[in-house]
């Protein structure tokens, strides 16, 4: 019997190569639009980068706050992009998603998000990003393969503020980490806005 594959994300492995960004745009359900996020954490001090796919929450906040009831889950728990006939482009989902995943495209007045390459995963293939990721920061493997090849453990329970979230996608954390990860969004980032004009990192940061 073939064990079901799951999506594992390990930010610490990301090398910032952008392969996932390019591959994402090849997905047939959103051809030409890359929906994965690849964040540079703090370009001034580090080369650390982090990819962010949809974590496919069991009870998605994006769907709960959608006034048009446009965000649906497949029976296997994949949270889809907004339904085209319904989405009214309010961006509630963009602002409410605890992981900051959905994107709003003004020109087509629709929210789109990672749907775990449903055209591929629904037929047993791996998502585009996990297929091309050279460091396997994004991996679509069985739990058995994960245990054999990884040092950490995988968790999928979170708490944002006081709100519990359980996801279909797993995060790789050190062994013996408690199974629930608390996120407060505290701390401070380097302030945006004024920066040294000779600071190349800042220019890159500004896009």
């Amino acid at each position: 019997m073939i064990e079901e594959r799951a999506f594992f994300i390990d930010y610490a492995r990301c090398i910032g190569c952008q392969s996932c960004v390019q591959a994402c745009a090849e997905c047939d359900t959103h051809r030409g639009r890359s929906l994965i996020h690849l964040e540079t954490i703090d370009r001034h001090d580090s080369v650390q980068t982090a990819p962010q796919v949809c974590m496919h929450c069991e009870n998605p906040v994006c769907a709960q706050v959608c006034p048009a009831d446009a965000i649906k889950q497949t029976p296997d728990g994949v949270v889809q992009s907004s339904l085209k006939p319904r989405c009214i482009g309010c961006s509630n989902c963009v602002l409410a998603c605890p992981f900051g995943v959905p994107r709003y495209f003004g020109e087509i007045d629709q929210m789109m998000k990672c749907d775990m390459c449903y055209d591929r995963t629904s037929t047993g293939k791996r998502p585009m990003c996990a297929t091309v990721c050279p460091s396997q920061a994004l991996a679509f493997i069985t739990l058995d393969e994960f245990r054999r090849t990884r040092g950490g453990t995988a968790i999928n329970e979170w708490r944002f503020g006081d709100h519990p979230v359980r996801t279909k996608v797993y995060l790789v954390v050190p062994p013996e980490t408690p199974p629930l990860l608390q996120i407060q969004g505290l701390g401070s980032a380097r302030p945006s806005g004024a920066f040294d004009r000779n600071d190349v990192a800042a220019w890159l940061e500004q896009g």
Partner: protein, 360 residues
């Protein structure tokens, strides 16, 4: 003054929705009764269509009321009307509404930007259905009817609510257009269905996510209505009325089934979609007012109006982002992504694997 966010029990929601459904059905019945001049102009042969329309009105009223009972829907619906009717902006808003309605509903430009084939399919189906609805509902409600002119059998007269509106000769250019307007509508719909099936049959993305009940059944229903409608014309003009009674009953069955499906399937988006116009006003009002800044990076990321409303919706839905330490809703989407990555980074750092950097 922000509109209230309503949180009600499921039973109360259903009772409210049933009342809304009954009110919608009653409105249609009253419209039929008075519009047909106390049923004087009502065509008894069209009773099944009128009956199905009454049921559809009940279903639509019920579904729409249930939809509005959802906290986010109710809030934005009321907020949109509040902004639209703001006395200072009302004249400009009416002009803006007309432009938005033209762009989004008549021309459907946003669908064209999604894909040309999708736009062609939707535009043809939309205008075919609008044309058909504009003729068949008033006909089956007895709001319009046709009579031969008393003075000449070669003239036809059209009445709206019993008032003579226009007349035409049977051998005029207008006559075949009037008599075949539903055939034109059917051909438009069939053209749209052709493009829709072409796209759905070849687009691998659509093939992966489409569902029979949601995406193909509506096309099958429209196809059945259009083709059986064209059968009637074919029977009349090409087959000397062959099996006309059976074909008319078959057509009635397809129309009635479509009307009954109207409130519960994909067609409900026809009634839901105008909310898109309200959101346009909401966004403009938000852009013109203060902006919310991220509590982590300090950058503006959305209108303060939107973030404030969203917090109230989240509270009504039991989404507990707010804590004594602060509200997670005040963190911008980018900083949320960074926070998650940095939380993992901190775990590995304390575990002693690597010297992670950055701020959480």
């Amino acid at each position: 003054m922000p509109p209230p966010v309503r949180v009600t029990a499921r039973g109360a929601d259903a009772a409210h929705a049933i009342a809304a459904g009954l009110a919608a059905a009653a409105l249609v019945i009253l419209g039929i009764y008075f519009g047909s001049r106390h049923l004087r102009d009502f065509d008894v042969a069209l009773v099944p269509y009128a009956g199905a329309s009454v049921f559809a009105a009940f279903g639509l009223g019920y579904r729409y009321a249930m939809w509005l009972r959802r906290p986010p829907t109710g809030l934005y619906w009321r907020r949109s009307w509040q902004l639209f009717f703001a006395p200072r902006h009302l004249p400009a808003n009416i002009v803006r509404l007309a432009r938005l309605a033209f762009d989004n509903f008549l021309a459907q430009k946003f669908i064209g930007r999604r894909a040309v084939k999708r736009w062609l399919a939707h535009w043809c189906i939309f205008w075919g259905c609008v044309l058909a609805a504009a003729v068949t509902f008033p006909l089956s409600f007895g709001w319009i009817h046709f009579e031969t002119a008393p003075a000449s059998l070669a003239r036809y007269q059209a009445f709206v609510f019993g008032v003579h509106v226009f007349s035409f000769r049977l051998d005029s250019v207008l006559a075949p257009l009037v008599f075949n307007v539903l055939d034109v509508a059917a051909l438009l719909v069939l053209t749209g269905i052709f493009f829709a099936l072409w796209r759905r049959g070849l687009d691998r993305g659509a093939l992966a996510v489409q569902q029979f009940a949601n995406d193909l059944l509506p096309l099958a229903l429209l196809f059945a209505v259009s083709v059986t409608g064209l059968f009637l014309t074919a029977s009349t003009h090409l087959l000397r009325g062959y099996d006309f009674v059976f074909l008319s009953q078959l057509h009635a069955v397809t129309v009635i089934f479509t009307l009954l499906y109207l409130p519960f399937g994909k067609f409900f988006h026809i009634f839901q979609r105008p909310a898109q116009l309200g959101i346009a006003f909401y966004k403009e009002a938000g852009a013109a007012s203060g902006q919310a800044t991220c509590r982590r990076c300090g950058a503006p990321f959305a209108s303060a109006l939107h973030v404030g409303d969203l917090k109230r919706v989240e509270s009504a839905l039991g989404i507990r982002y707010a804590t004594a330490a602060g509200d997670y809703q005040d963190v911008c989407p980018r900083c949320r992504r960074l926070s998650v990555a940095l939380a993992q980074d901190a775990l590995w750092r304390t575990h002693g694997r690597g010297p992670g950097k950055g701020t959480r």
